[in-house]
Amino acid sequence: MFPAPVLDVIMEEEILYSETFRIHGNDFEHGGEVAAAVKSVMKQLGIRSDVIRRLSIANFECEMNVIMYADEAEFEFSVLPSQVRVVCKDRGQGIPDIGLAMQEGWSTATQQMRERGFGAGLGLPNIKRNSDKFEIESTPSVGTTLRYSVNLE
């Protein structure tokens, strides 16, 4: 028997699966591994390939942003009945002007990052474009939190 639903309009959806990863700043050596681990979980859960692709693009950008610009982050991936969701909370320099950071082509990447093919100013726009819901909050010299999700239907 299922318990009777609680009559609460802001009731959260049930979390079917959740896993938290830690990402370390400057850890280029492992850049992309969290996104790969999440992709593998989504494949095992039988999630549609277009959803996997969109969330994987967003996850890679999010992970590389932490590696390039933050000290460390907690990256929480959850599967809900209607969506796959990520909350990535980092500790670091933060973003003084979110409007600028969201602008395509704007980047604070160093020369070294640019030599590796980063710094196109597409990271945050790629996350936004590949998610159905996207929120960003940042406090300079404290850190940045991203919340984004892709709908399953």
Partner: protein, 109 residues
């Protein structure tokens, strides 16, 4: 078209083992964010960027194989990573434009 056919037609050198995959098209770029957002599953990626983060990005979007141009060679770690992901890395001394024209001549549209 198969990866091996492109290797033969363009006289590419396998830096990794050559994995038997079908190619669905080509994407040419050196910017990682552009590669991950725009290269499609089954694509042949032509690039000069060959480091572990590019392999990770390629694997996330199911790129089939990578042609690395201008004589650049991947490190041993990158080769290992690509082989684990079953992505062939093919090297050439040609530049990206020369590779593009040869791919076109080979019949890839």
């Amino acid at each position: 078209m198969k990866v091996q056919e492109i290797v033969d037609r363009l006289e590419l050198k396998g830096a990794t083992k050559i994995f038997d995959k079908d190619l669905s098209g080509v994407y040419i770029s050196d910017m990682v964010s552009d590669i991950i957002a725009n290269a499609k599953a089954g694509h042949l990626l032509v690039t000069v960027q060959i480091h572990n983060n590019v392999i990770a990005a390629a694997n996330l979007v199911d790129i089939a194989a990578i042609v690395v141009t201008q004589g650049k060679l991947p490190s041993d770690d990158v080769i290992k990573m690509a082989e684990k992901a079953q992505i062939s890395i093919l090297s050439t001394t040609m530049n990206r434009w020369q590779v593009a024209t040869k791919l076109y001549e080979a019949g890839i549209r």
